[in-house]
């Protein structure tokens, strides 16, 4: 009788709890993604990769798993990462495993708060952008709190406060800076009812960010609080669009700028015109002493508070990515001009399917520097450093990239892309190869695809890079067969036939295959990876030469 009574009481209390729990489960949503990149290295004496260089570390692995849980207005997530050891070319300080990223967030229509790790961007990122780029091994997330508030329709205020991720190093007192920031943006079309349907679309915004880092340096007097502010607008008038952002930073002596005390400036201006079949884009950008890190002694790709957007078009083809541009935070001035034109269908040039033509010209120079007055030389540590006229271009060109591309569909089954690039690349400045001559190169690329059936297709690339500098001429070819929706196989080779040293006229061949099902993808590559540099958004990492198997498994749910 006692047992029956106990069971009755338990049921009385717990059935509603179970019912409530069931309701919670019903309203919960879990999503996530995983990726594992593994490398098995072989010695390759022709590439200078010996057993002693590998030193027993034949295996390398980068991997992550991310899970996000959502229940109504509440969400939370964690990301596990492992670099055991990191794949060659990734910062060795990544070696380790654990959970570097976890957060919880509460979001309502007008208000949201996040605690833990988070990413955020103010405007173009000139004063604050935290983000993760897996291919670079880059993560400058903030760990702290983020608040977003929309007091009225069309006005968004944001505040952030925290410390940045630095590989696996936990924050301890004075180990790196503390970042705080505030951003506001007003969309006048949303705020003012009479402008709701206006052809003129205008938004304005402003940001302020400050970092605190203790000054324990025995040589320099260092500012503990370094503030930076930015103002921006975005104006759309019919088919025209203009946007701009200007940022200013007070004295921020650091390892990057050589401990000079000059304030920094950054400016970017975009103008575009877009109509059916035609798009025109013009960009002007100027960076002057605008590295902004939460540890002034850091020189590697870590602890950047801000982001300086690139204006050189990114390259994805094997040879066109040979000389990628890395943003020069100490100073650069340049512009980009791009025209996209679609030759109409059924015209003489466009043929049955039309044709896409793109022309792009990008150039970045050094800024002009003059002695600041407190010294006869420029960039002397412990001085103002220099002065600089805002719109003056130095004769020193960092990079010029002129490209012309045509994308043409010849028939229902056959299409192709043809690209010509002419580049000037100052490898001494951009990659630190002191004394190396400026590279002038011409690159031609053809990328053709033939569809056999709706499921199977063959794609092939032929590429050539021609230069008298650096490693000389290259040729490359790729053939890829795809059997949709699951299989692909490819074979490629990059041949440095023009290398001045006969021993280095090497073939960098790869054979790859892969299988996809729904959101899961597995690929295996065998071959040689040439030494080079990988850049995403002007942020770069060096990639050493390697030889072996490369396995990637990724999935999301």
């Amino acid at each position: 009788m006692k047992k029956i009574f106990t069971a009755f009481v338990l049921m009385f209390f717990f059935v509603p709890v179970f019912a409530q729990f069931g309701k919670v489960l019903e309203n919960s949503r879990v999503q996530g993604s995983f990726e594992v990149d593994g490398m098995y290295y072989f010695p390759d004496t022709k590439m200078g990769i010996t057993d002693s260089l590998i030193n027993g570390r034949n295996f390398a692995m980068n991997g992550f798993g991310e899970i996000i849980y959502t229940l109504g207005d509440f969400s939370a997530g964690v990301r596990y990462e492992a670099y055991l050891p990191p794949i060659a070319g990734f910062d060795k300080r990544l070696e380790g495993q654990g959970i570097p990223y976890m957060w919880a967030s509460y979001n309502t229509e007008r208000f949201s708060i996040t605690v833990g790790n988070f990413y955020e961007q103010f405007g173009n990122g000139l004063v604050l952008r935290t983000y993760q780029e897996w291919t670079l091994g880059y993560d400058n997330s903030l760990n702290g709190a983020k608040v977003q508030f929309e007091p009225v329709e069309g006005v968004v205020l944001k505040g952030v406060y925290g410390v940045q991720r630095f590989f696996w190093n936990k924050y301890t007192k004075n180990s790196r800076g503390i970042v705080k920031g505030l951003d506001g943006e007003i969309d006048l079309n949303d705020l003012i009812t009479s402008m709701e349907n206006s052809k003129l679309r205008l938004s304005i915004g402003g940001s302020f960010v400050s970092k605190y880092q203790a000054d324990n340096d025995p040589i320099f007097k260092l500012p503990r609080n370094v503030g930076s502010g930015a103002a921006r607008f975005n104006l759309g008038i019919g088919k025209f669009n203009f946007s701009s952002e200007y940022a200013h930073k007070i004295n921020d002596p650091s390892a990057i700028n050589g401990y000079i005390y000059k304030p920094g400036d950054a400016f970017i201006f975009n103008a575009s015109y877009s109509t059916k079949g035609l798009g025109i884009l013009g960009v002007f950008k100027r960076i002057d002493n605008f590295s902004y890190k939460s540890d002034r002694a850091e020189t590697a790709n870590a602890l950047d508070i801000n982001f300086l957007p690139p204006i050189i078009e990114p390259n994805t083809y094997m040879l066109s990515s040979m000389y990628p541009y890395a943003t020069q935070p100490n100073g650069e001035i340049g512009f980009q001009f791009q025209v996209n034109y679609k030759v109409p269908r059924k015209s003489k040039l466009g043929g049955k399917y039309g044709m896409d033509i793109t022309f792009n010209y990008s150039q970045l120079n050094d800024i002009v520097r003059k002695p600041a007055g407190d010294t006869s030389a420029i960039n002397v540590p412990g001085t103002l450093g220099y002065t600089s006229d805002f719109f003056k271009f130095s004769d020193h060109i960092f990079m010029r990239d002129v490209r012309f591309s045509v994308h043409k569909k010849f028939s229902r089954k056959f299409k192709g892309t043809f690209i010509y690039l002419n580049q000037l690349f100052d490898i001494a400045t951009i990659q630190g190869h002191a004394g190396a001559p400026v590279i002038h190169d011409n690159i031609v690329i053809t990328d053709m695809t033939y569809k056999f059936t709706s499921r199977s297709s063959l794609r092939w690339e032929l590429q050539g890079l021609f230069t008298e500098q650096d490693k000389g001429d290259w040729a490359a070819a790729l053939v890829e067969y795809t059997l949709s929706p699951h299989w692909f196989a490819s074979i490629s080779d990059q041949w440095n036939y023009g290398n001045p040293d006969d021993n280095d006229k090497l073939h960098y061949y790869t054979v790859a295959g892969g299988y996809s099902i729904k959101t899961t993808r597995i690929s295996l590559t065998y071959g040689r990876q040439r030494e080079g540099v990988v850049c995403v958004g002007g942020v770069c990492r060096a990639v050493p030469a390697s030889s072996g198997f490369y396995l990637t498994i990724s999935s999301s749910f």
Binding site: D91, K170, N174, S175, L182, K221, P223, V380
Partner: protein, 280 residues
Amino acid sequence: MKNLKLFIFLLSAVFLISACEKIDPPYKETNEGGGGDTTALVRKVLLEDYTGHQCVNCAGAAITSHELKELYKGQLVLMAVHAGPFAEPMPNTLFTADYRTEAGNQWNDYFGVQQYPSGMVNRKEYNGEVVLAKDKWGEAIASLLSESADAKIDIDNSYENGKLTTGIKVKFVHDMSGSYMLQVCITEDSIVSAQKNNDPNAGDVPVIKDFVFMHMLRGAVNGVWGEDIFNGSIEPGKEYSVTYQYNITGVAKNSHVVAFVYKKSDKEIVQVEEAPVIKE
């Protein structure tokens, strides 16, 4: 609630606006750093500068270490360790010299130095890192100099016909415990050869053809990791003496003996001493 949120943002704004600090010239500290009087027993600090003649930023780091030496004088001992890819010789160029040493190579691998220039200050962790960027050397040194010395090292050198005889005496002055090692090395000044460089303030760009290398590690007298000297509980006044003989291959009048005592467990250096091979 709405007013509270607005208040929080306004408070933040006021706080942020006050978060700027403009420094007025002179931008350099005017303190003398101390370190002048080393007749009394003081803690001395070893700065190891991991460098290479093909490293374009390393000439600037040598200037930094020199400035720190000027500041802390005898309380700071410098050692430039040529190791890693930028220290490799390159045939048929200005960089044919091989300044690497067995000890330097092994230390470089053990401590995982991967960027050059990098350095270690007493091989002790500072803000979570043992291997430090050059601009952290100064504050790491400053953080150690105020500590009292744990040990005293005396070096007594004699030199004849290329052969050095160095007598090392270590005396602990505090109650201590654990295992301690003694490492004895040779450094050499004023070696002139080419150094790559991208810093106009450090010299010619892209190559300083007649760069003067200072404090260069030339070899380890008693092996790559030295030898055990104490184990277990150590009472104040406990002494260890040893004498080594070593063939000097460089210029003896420019060479120094650097001796340091470190913990076997984490390699942290507790005391260092330096003396010229030929007595002044």
